[in-house]
Amino acid sequence: MPPDLRTAPATEDRRAGGRTRARARAARRRGLLVHGTRVLLLTAVLGAWELLARTEVIDPFNFSMPSRIWDQIAQWAAHGTAQGSLGEQIGYTLYEALLGWVIGVTCGVVLGITLGRVPFLAEVLGPYLKVLNALPRIVLAPIFLIWFGLGPASKVASAVVLVFFPVFFNAFQGAREVDRNLVANARILGASNRRVTLQVVVPSATSWIFTSLHISFGFALIGAIVGEYIGATKGLGLLVATSQGTFNAAGVYAAMVILAVVALLAEGLLTFAEKRLFRWKPAAPGGER
């Protein structure tokens, strides 16, 4: 009897452990498969492009090819561009985008929360904001160029107008959709109006605001690039413009690749910050709650 008692749980344990291990192995295998297929897909597309361009099925002058684009990036990195070093161009564009993003986000959040909390202001300003939002804001870039000149100010301005609206509308919505129970509870517990805004409305609107931050950083980059493209002395947008002007297709693509990498890195940073900030939230939707 005693030996039976001892062995029974042991085998069960081993079986359970084996199953867990098998499951882990299956998950790993699946992960490898997904990544492998991804790499394969990229290689296939780039390979086909290279091949088609080299055999001149597509015109390599207009469409360029991956190897030339790579050479262009390497050359820019090693010898600098016509406007200065590559790092300087990236830094310039990033600086404009980041500054525009920070200003746009700050204004959007402050105004969104304020209007969400003060219905009178929302009613007065509502139609004007709708009109401004309906405007295709990218056409403002040439106006900003006239107003603020070739320097970074005009790019920052176009980034700001692109960033402001999505952030504003999300912050506004977030402030309006705060759980009424939470507000009532805070008031019962003795919170002043200011406290309710800062300690209930702002925290519950942050998840709304963060969704808009992801898209809006992309918008800030667009604003900066378009601004540079129209007229600038430095930056990646200018790089695109000059490459286009000299019929250097590889240059246009190379600038695009660099931009994509920069945007992805920024997105990664933002996701990291979000994870830190939202520790109070359940890990996955439907995870625990």
Binding site: L182, A184, A186, I188, L189, A191, S192, W280, P282
Partner: protein, 273 residues
């Protein structure tokens, strides 16, 4: 127990109170009509009525979150003009702040009212110990069960030492066992505080097992139909008290009164639908 109230003024008094809400379509929806009710110091009053009859509105009027359209609401003989520090409110839905830890949630009230941080933390820890959540003070609400979250809400309310305790179907979202447990815990916490309680529920058994008096409301707009003294001895355990002969007797008595209103509400519902 009537410290602070001038003379013999009841802890809570509603005189001829009516509340009419404006509907979005511009119509008028009367929620409470000509309601008179007085709650004595350290008395536990349960309010029962058919769903949607306006019971909860009575609580928001007493709490100062909202004002009556007509009539007077008095606390300790003084008219209610806003939110008062001696009033505690436990809500039906989760109203703990999800971005604050358990400890920080319980500290919220004292901090809002200007208690220094160290002192607030000390008091919050004391109340967390009383509701048995000491080990969970660093957790966030989503990491707790529904019953534990309700305990946080109770600690959050009791930490402010309320003399008036308003409860709006606080345990209706909990399962039956947790509910009985929480009811006992509430009675224990209340026993040590001498607060006057208005407990709104649609569960008659819960009302009888907790309260000194049960107020039956009419189908909406709500007004007092009849008040029944319960007269069961304290201290009570809700599971045990349900088996007593007096409980069954009063349950039958109140149900004849309440059942009628429930039927009226139901008939209206089918007509509207």
């Amino acid at each position: 127990m009537d410290s602070g109230s001038p003379g013999d003024a009841p802890a809570i008094e509603l005189r001829g109170v009516s509340k009419v809400f404006r509907t979005p379509s511009g119509g008028a929806h009367p929620a409470v009509r000509d309601l008179d009710l007085a709650v004595g110091p350290s008395e536990f009053v349960a309010v029962v009525g058919p769903t949607g009859c306006g019971k909860s509105t009575v609580l928001t009027l007493v709490s100062g979150l909202d004002e009556p359209t007509e009539g007077d609401v008095l606390i300790g003989g003084e008219p209610v003009t806003g939110i008062r520090p001696e009033v505690g409110f436990v809500f039906q839905q989760d109203a703990v702040f999800p971005w604050r830890t358990v400890l920080s949630n319980v500290m919220a009230g004292p901090r809002f009212r200007g208690v220094p941080k160290a002192r607030a933390r000390e008091r919050a820890r004391d109340w967390l110990a009383r509701v048995g959540l000491t080990a969970f003070e660093d957790r966030y609400p989503h990491q707790l069960s529904g019953g534990q979250r309700k305990r946080v809400a109770l600690a959050q309310t009791f930490v402010g030492d309320p003399r008036i305790l308003l409860m709006d179907e606080p345990f209706s979202a909990l399962d039956v066992q947790t509910r009985a447990l929480m009811s006992d815990e509430l009675l224990e916490l209340w026993g040590g505080s001498a607060a006057s309680v208005v407990f709104v529920t649609h569960d008659l058994e819960e009302a009888i097992s907790l309260a000194d008096r049960v107020v039956v409301m009419t189908a909406g707009p709500a007004t007092v139909k009849k008040i029944f003294p319960v007269g069961l001895p304290r201290p009570r355990k809700v599971e045990a008290v349900r088996l007593e002969a007096r409980f069954v007797e009063i349950h039958r008595e109140i149900w004849t009164s309440l059942g009628e209103e429930v039927r009226i509400t139901r008939e209206r519902g089918t007509h509207a639908a």
